[in-house]
Symmetry: C2
């Protein structure tokens, strides 16, 4: 009754490509998961081979966040979709003040995608997770026909644990609170853009893609309950983030545009392309809203951390029923920095 089983050959990681069988749930998929994902994400929960990961949690406040990553191109100066898909989700967890615990990764792969690129992306994702001290404990792989996707999309979901007593949320800004940005803005958007268009200038600019939970833990330690809220200015940039907070908290903002750190290369690229750095995406920066008396101490503490060394106090929240974000410019004038209208740069994350 028994037939000898065919030995499956190893995946051809140099020249092979993903085909529809790699998403069909059978032996080919099991092999793809074994030889690429388990290898790259290497952890005991994933190794159990169940359709879910199980782990113990302490009682308390937990946060959950999910993000789809559709960045184009997949590889960019300073990172790739794999590292970005870890940093971005960790940052959403960290913005609640939480310590990231575990990640789940869902891959949607286009038929014909090179296995070598998939291995590189999974490897980079695994590295970013290990560097951040989190594990990718469960995942899923789907394959769509050629022309029905675009290389690889990744949806990463994270959970994290909020330290007792810490409560950060978008509605907690009060008039008089200070606004801090953790460093230079626009690096990610401009770095990605430089790979897409012929900008006509030389730049060594890298994406700022980074996991911010370490910086956040330090900020929470120093500022405690004076810290009102944190948010990472990704799509839509700093201006859109401030508008979101203004909306949620029912305040306005008055920002000193000259105090916002912008690199010369970013300013130059934006000028060339007719873009405003205030609306360009970041992937390793945060905006902090903090009670006035804790602001100076907080900025000093941030500057002592590698990911906050260019932190700057850039303005304050105002009593404003209309919830406007106002910029005072270096020429002494002023303007409203409204929400991003339309789209400045598609598929930046």
């Amino acid at each position: 009754m028994r037939a000898p089983r065919l030995r499956t050959r190893k995946l051809d990681l140099q020249n092979g490509r993903v085909d529809l069988s790699h998403g069909a749930g059978g032996r080919a998929m099991a092999q793809l998961i074994d030889e690429i994902f388990r290898e790259a994400f290497d952890n005991p929960m994933l190794d159990q081979g169940n359709d879910q990961a199980a782990f113990d949690v302490p009682a308390g406040r937990m946060v959950m966040s999910t993000d789809g990553y559709v960045i184009s191109p997949l590889f960019f100066p300073g990172g790739d979709i794999g590292s970005l898909a870890v940093h971005g989700t960790i940052n959403d967890i960290a913005m609640a003040g939480a310590r990231p615990l575990h990640l789940a990764a869902s891959y949607i792969i286009e038929e014909g995608f090179p296995l070598a690129d998939l291995q590189r992306i999974a490897g980079s994702m695994g590295c970013a997770a290990r560097d951040a001290g989190v594990a990718i404990v469960t995942g899923d792989t789907k394959v769509v026909e050629r022309g029905k996707g675009d290389g690889v999309f990744i949806a990463t979901t994270g959970i994290g644990v909020v330290p007792p007593g810490l409560h950060l949320s978008g509605e907690r800004a009060r008039p008089g609170d200070r606004v801090i940005i953790s460093g230079y803005i626009g690096d990610h958007g401009v770095a990605v853009m430089s790979t897409r268009r012929d900008l006509g200038f030389e730049t060594e600019l890298l994406s700022d893609s980074a996991a911010l939970h370490g910086l956040v833990a330090e900020m929470a330690r120093v500022a405690g309950s004076s810290l009102r809220l944190l948010r990472d200015p990704t799509r839509g940039g700093l201006a859109t983030t401030l508008n979101e907070i203004a909306q949620q908290s029912g305040v306005g903002f008055l920002i000193d545009e000259g105090a916002i750190p912008v690199r010369a290369e970013v300013a130059a690229a934006c000028e060339l392309l007719g873009l405003d750095p205030l609306y360009v995406a970041n992937e390793g920066k945060l905006v902090a809203i903090v009670a006035p008396d804790a602001a100076e101490t907080l900025v000093a503490a941030m500057r002592a951390h590698p990911l906050g060394r260019d932190a700057a106090l850039i303005g304050e929240a105002t009593a404003d029923e209309q919830r406007f974000v106002q910029m005072t410019t270096s020429f002494g004038g002023g303007r409203i920095a409204d929400w991003l209208m339309g789209e400045q740069l598609p598929r930046i994350c």
Copy 2:
């Protein structure tokens, strides 16, 4: 200094289409989220408008699972990608014996997708979640250019809480354990297939897409620690699921093919298409492996539940170093039901 803000018109949900601005992070995205997703998912955590949801959890065992949904077509007899994306993830949570707690949804939408269809999918997703007693507490929306996606993909991630004392995992099957299937197999795959190809026959077959956590809770109550493990035979079907368990537990299986419930319509469609129902996907069925002395009681309890009324004892685990899944056929013969090789039906979930 202030400019009057343009009033945003409501989305045209009848004739409008998704464009790239709906994924750019600005005002258009905020509007899409407000008018479609918040409306459909309606819950206080989502309404907070943060990039993450926060909630309290008890100490204990937690599970996390993620799945990407790329089903084509998006609407099929008995469901759509929205309901499927809830049921599928809840089931992965439930297969660990866990009570599902919260879901996160990540949408990747192709430019040009009709807003009316998006609203219908989100509505169906919201309904399925409410019916199952879980909330979609956080989400994300990305838009890719026309021709770089295929309508809508959804990645859903869930977390759940395992009742104390319950431990279900793929490596727990022992020789002599009984194998139970909760009902008719192949309905989902054949229902979806009937929308894709001209099968040349009339069928009223619906997908079996359903959330199984209620059935699982009842099974755990009745069988307690005699219940070794559960798994839902989705992609790859029943045969592939049994092979996975055989691999993880280091056992074989001997299955009575005649005892497996297969509807006449499914058998006919499979015969017509040259498919084997054993490899066709299910979205509302589970395989249970249970200690022999608890098997009869468990089947009886399952049959008393609406989602298990056609439950059947179909075979047992065997001592087999080669980990073969053997079928005894109704003609008294036997065959090996190997892993699914290649792909039987792409994008079935």
